[in-house]
């Protein structure tokens, strides 16, 4: 009597698993949720009567959803349209090489204007105009000032990576082993020093990064920093330690960054002392964790031994 029930059960599960399996196999990528959402900017800003070439390219790159402007689309953009339907857009918009280079150039030119205008669209406009581009180019940057912050962050990360690579090569040439503690200290100090030129407006940048719409990208940037540092420091962990190491380093980095923006000491020596103390905390936390584990082992062995002894005393041993 139970058999028909179980058969029905089995049939239901079979259909679920077939659907799930075929979906998993076919649409591998499509299940991934677009956490930052589709990067569709408010369409109107960039679709003005596009006179210059640059605004036309920017127009096409983002407005692939619009079907009306078929004649203006180049072949390149048509191809990217196909790709858009197949590949999910996560944080990476479907952009052409040209578009990417233009945006990088504009953002680079905008950095000097940060002292005047802060991390805002105004700075981007000023940067674009200094390159001779129309101010409408700011439409290429839907997230406004945040784009400038991310550009600066990513450039600093690249600089940090080349610094770390160089340091590792130097140590290898001298045939020395990497001392993790000082290496990490130097890495974080180097990375934070890159902020110092913009320290007057950095609190604004930090605030921008904590906005919910920017939080994911900021998190990605921060994890890039700590991952790079640990990788070049020689981390070879492939289990949960991977997370604990990077989590603790991220906490140290973030807290030191916050300390940095209110530090008034000469050459920020207080900040580097603060950093040293935080790194020591992490090391001692690691020792504490290990001690706790050992204590746990000892205690449990002790408890087991006590139970065996009691059992023997009470004569309950294998009789």
């Amino acid at each position: 009597m139970a058999a028909p029930c179980i058969n029905r059960f089995a049939l239901i599960f079979r259909s679920i698993s077939r659907t799930a399996l075929s979906r998993c196999n076919r649409n591998g990528g499509r299940f991934m949720s677009t956490s930052t959402g589709d990067r569709n900017p408010p369409q109107d800003t960039s679709s003005g009567p596009g006179g210059s070439a640059s605004s036309q390219t920017s127009n096409g790159g983002y407005n692939t959803q619009r079907t009306g402007q078929g004649a203006q689309y180049s072949d390149e953009l048509d191809n990217s349209e196909d790709l858009v339907s197949e590949v999910e857009e996560e944080e990476m918009p479907e952009e052409t090489e040209e578009e990417y280079q233009t945006k990088q150039a504009v953002l680079k030119a905008s950095l000097p204007f940060v002292h005047q205008y802060g991390w805002t669209k105004k700075a981007i406009v000023a940067g674009a105009e200094s390159l001779g581009m129309p101010s409408m180019v700011h439409g290429m940057f839907p997230r406004g000032g945040a784009e400038l912050v991310f550009y600066f962050y990513e450039e600093s990360n690249k600089e940090l990576e080349s610094f770390l690579k160089q340091k590792v090569t130097e140590l290898k040439e001298k045939d020395e082993k990497i001392k993790t503690g000082p290496f990490i200290h130097d890495a974080i100090e180097t990375r934070l020093r890159m902020i110092i030129p913009y320290i007057d407006k950095w609190p604004q940048a930090m605030a921008i990064q904590t906005l919910p719409q920017n939080a994911v990208q900021s998190w990605t940037n921060l994890s890039r920093v700590v991952d790079d540092i640990w990788f070049y420091a020689g981390d070879k962990s492939n289990d949960f330690n991977w997370y604990t190491k990077r989590g603790s380093l991220a906490a140290v980095y973030k807290s030191t960054e916050i300390y940095l923006i209110q530090d008034r000491s000469e050459d920020y020596t207080d900040t580097w002392n603060f950093l040293e103390n935080r790194l020591e905390d992490v090391v001692s936390a690691g020792h504490l964790a290990r001690n706790l584990q050992e204590t746990n082992t000892v205690l449990s062995e002790g408890a087991k031994g006590f139970c065996v002894m009691t059992r023997n005393l009470l004569g309950m041993n294998n009789r």
């Binding site: 998993c24 299940f31 991934m32 052409t96 070879k236 492939n238």
Partner: protein, 182 residues
């Protein structure tokens, strides 16, 4: 599409594949460990032991790849550690046939999964990923061999074979989906 975007796509694909494969091999290793804990002293013990050793080999390969390609391991590793052992021990308590049924179900999901990964890699860039495709093909063949071994040892005679098999398959697919993302 810019070179940067293309590289990013490949990197994401690779890291997804290696991450989920490491989790899968750890899970499989733990499943066999659970089965051995219950059935270690029976005649079928050595067979499971041999399969476990092959899974360990696979796991070591992926551990190395994780470090080499700078891939983030899945945060759910401790969970799969426990869940795998529980599944192995649980099915082994149903007897040797139960353990074999579990093996068959898991290995068939993994076999299809490896196939779809190989397809994805070939689609992306067969030249660049030649090494990895070769490794995955070998592992897929090993897993299918385990699948056949399971069938040989009376997997289908397990109690509630159909239901058990389907539940385990759905669980595996869910685990794969999660490990790819988390």
């Amino acid at each position: 599409i810019s070179q940067r975007a293309k590289d990013e796509k490949t990197r994401k694909l690779l890291s997804r594949i290696i991450r989920v494969d490491q989790a899968g091999e750890l899970g499989a290793d733990r499943i066999y460990a659970g089965q051995i804990a219950v059935l270690g002293n029976t005649p079928v013990g050595p067979i499971i032991q041999e399969m476990k050793e092959q899974e360990q080999e696979h796991l070591e390969t992926f551990n190395k790849l994780i470090v080499e390609k700078r891939v983030r391991p899945t945060a759910l590793l401790p969970l799969w550690n426990i869940a795998g052992f529980a599944l192995g021990a649980g099915t082994a308590l149903l007897g040797k046939e139960g353990a074999m049924a579990c093996t068959v179900a898991v290995e068939s999901v993994i076999g299809e999964h490896y196939n779809s990964q190989i397809r994805d890699l070939m689609e992306d860039d067969p030249e660049k990923h030649k090494e990895l495709i070769k490794k995955l093909s070998k592992f897929r063949d090993d897993e299918l061999h385990h699948h056949d071994t399971g069938l040989e040892h009376d997997a289908e005679k397990a109690p509630m074979y159909d239901a058990l098999s389907q539940v385990i398959k759905v669980g595996c697919i869910g685990a794969i989906w999660l490990s790819e993302r988390i």
